[in-house]
Amino acid sequence: MGFLDIRNATKAYGNVEVLHRVDIAVEEGEFLVLVGPSGCGKSTLLNMIAGLETVTSGDIAIQGRVINNVHPSKRNIAMVFQSYALYPNMTVAQNITFGLEMHGVPKAERARALEDVAQLLQIDHLLDRKPGQLSGGQRQRVAMGRALVRDPDVFLFDEPLSNLDAKLRVDMRTEIKKLHQKLGRTIVYVTHDQIEAMTLSTRIAVMYGGHVQQLGTPKDIYDAPENVFVATFMGSPAMNVMPAKVRVADGVPHAALADAEGQEVLLRFSQPHLAAWDGRDILLGIRPEAITDPDGADRNSSNIEPLRNRIGVTEPAGADTFVTMTLGGKDAIGRMRADAQVAAGEMFDFAINMEKAIAFDPQTEARIKP
């Protein structure tokens, strides 16, 4: 049993089920990120935890207390909304203390709490302003202040950074992470930005079509995705997924696929259990950073396979140069060091880190496990 338990929670609007049997146990102090494409049900799940949406079936419990029918204000949660939802007619100070006032906290205590939070978020100088007189980043801070001041069991964030410009978003991301490390509170955070998910979370739930596709640490999700959706959703550029065949040679399974010229190439797998798939079709998943120039290959890898292939397009991106090529009949992207000698249209000797390669069942799109 976790600190916050979501047990078999379903949500249906009329006959349409938009969340299917979601099961997540969040430990105290965890930073859980719900990530997924638009419309996958992230906000719905968060609103169910907040009590803003009813739970159709299943349970949601905080510290063992089932809260399905508890009013939002009595769940001891606080929420930061995407639009910040600051009360336009109140000053920053009133915005932050409104919740305390409604909960009957005495005035002196409210003032003290306000001071603490204002200091923590460095908004002391803004307390007398109205939300309309604040910048986007300042509004964001006030919205967080309103959540922090309540000192809740669980913080809920619904895409809190999506209205900020790119630079500010990165700054606030760091700040939220710092806050979490400092306060050690339990957080459930919704985003559709996979970088936010990777950097902030202690665990990620990747959602799609109302299902939790995979729940795990950022490393789990990245290195051992359960299926093609998770593999391609997390990571930028996305993982290359191409059709291939398993071929066992000298007792070792290889991936057989066509290069740009249509010639078959063999890449040795590190996973012996794939021998059972001898002769069958698979989907081969290789992340861009596992396709490199030979000097850029991971030195710790036990299985670097050479691949001579024609370069399609090169895209210098400062620190790296991305190279596209045709592999297995699909476009694949590789990540070279910036000074790798690559030119469009020429043959090049790539190094493929097959230790990180993943094979998926083409029927179910699930990762093939031992």
Binding site: A50, G51, L52, H71, P72, S73, I77, A78, M79, F81, Q82, S83, A85, Y87, P88, N89, F98, G99, M102, H103, R146
Partner: protein, 292 residues
């Protein structure tokens, strides 16, 4: 090339502008003409009017007609002037406007932020009430007022106008609140505010523009209403009915100057409301319609 086009653009602008202003001025004069006639004639003795020149300014200026219209003119059988009826109208219009506006705001709040099964149908029915002609409800309304013991009284008139106004006020507030972010209400719920606290502390403070629209609309309609006043006024008839009685009286000479003064007196409160709040009227109307 670009200089030339800019030049013509400016010149065209100036010509068009002059044209528009002249045009608007003419229209303004045209519309102000009746007011001018009323004002001018209410300030001259009756003899000057009967001599025949309605358009002329008074030769002798007098406030006599105003005083007469206000306090001593024959209304029906009593020589009371319009004063008591003016008071009736005030006693009717203030509570009727206040109650219908508050109820409209509450309805709009519920219909947008506390949605329930069948709320659109309910709203549709409320809207429907805006299209029912007054005449149709006269007899049923009379029966209801009789049953309630409110027939011929000011509270009766207030009730009639509130019932009739709710459709409009609800429409205004619903459209206005539809554009109001629901996340604010949700945030307030999490903060622990209840139904009325959210209404009072979060919604009402930002409802100024639409409240002005609702007040102006209701005030003008209720103040200017004649049919309900004549039908259900009984002993407490409003200003409009009294004005009619003054102007239509078939006995004695027709004192046109007094009639003009009385008519202006009857129109003054609505005029005042427009002058004070008119600026917000357009603003609020736009806010509600565009965003809603």
């Amino acid at each position: 090339m670009s200089v030339a086009t800019q030049d013509t653009a400016v010149r065209t602008g100036r010509v068009t502008r002059t044209f528009i202003y002249v045009f608007l001025l003419l229209f303004a004069l045209f519309y102000l003409m009746p007011l001018f006639v009323m004002l001018a004639n209410s300030l001259k003795p009756l003899s000057e009017i009967t001599e025949g020149n309605m358009m002329a300014l008074p030769k002798v200026w007098t406030l006599e007609p105003w005083a007469k219209a206000w306090s001593s003119a024959q209304i029906g059988v009593e020589p009371t002037g319009l004063r008591p009826y003016f008071l009736n109208s005030i006693l009717m219009v203030v509570p009727a406007v206040a109650i219908s506006t508050v109820l409209g705001a509450l309805n709009g709040y519920v219909l947008t932020k506390w949605r329930f099964r069948g709320d659109s149908i309910l709203f549709g029915l409320l809207l429907f009430s805006c299209f029912i002609p007054f005449q149709i409800v006269l007899i049923p309304m009379a029966m209801v007022l009789g049953k309630l013991g409110l027939a011929g009284s000011i509270p009766g008139l207030v009730l009639v106008h509130v019932v009739y106004g709710i459709g409009f006020t609800t429409l205004y507030f619903r459209n206005y609140y539809a554009a109001f972010p629901t996340e604010l209400v949700r945030a307030a719920m999490i903060d622990g505010a209840g139904f009325f606290q959210i209404f009072w502390r979060i919604m009402l403070p930002v409802s100024g523009p639409i409240a002005v629209v609702s007040v102006i609309w209701q005030f003008t309609n209720i103040w200017n209403d004649f049919l309900f006043g004549a039908s259900f006024g009984g002993q407490s008839q409003p200003m409009t009915v009294a004005l009619n009685n003054l102007v239509q009286s078939s006995t004695g000479v027709k004192e046109y100057n007094v009639h003009f003064a009385g008519a202006i007196l009857a129109a003054l409160p609505t005029l005042l409301v427009y002058i004070v709040a008119g600026r917000y009227f357009v603003r609020g109307l736009m806010a509600g319609s565009v965003k809603g």
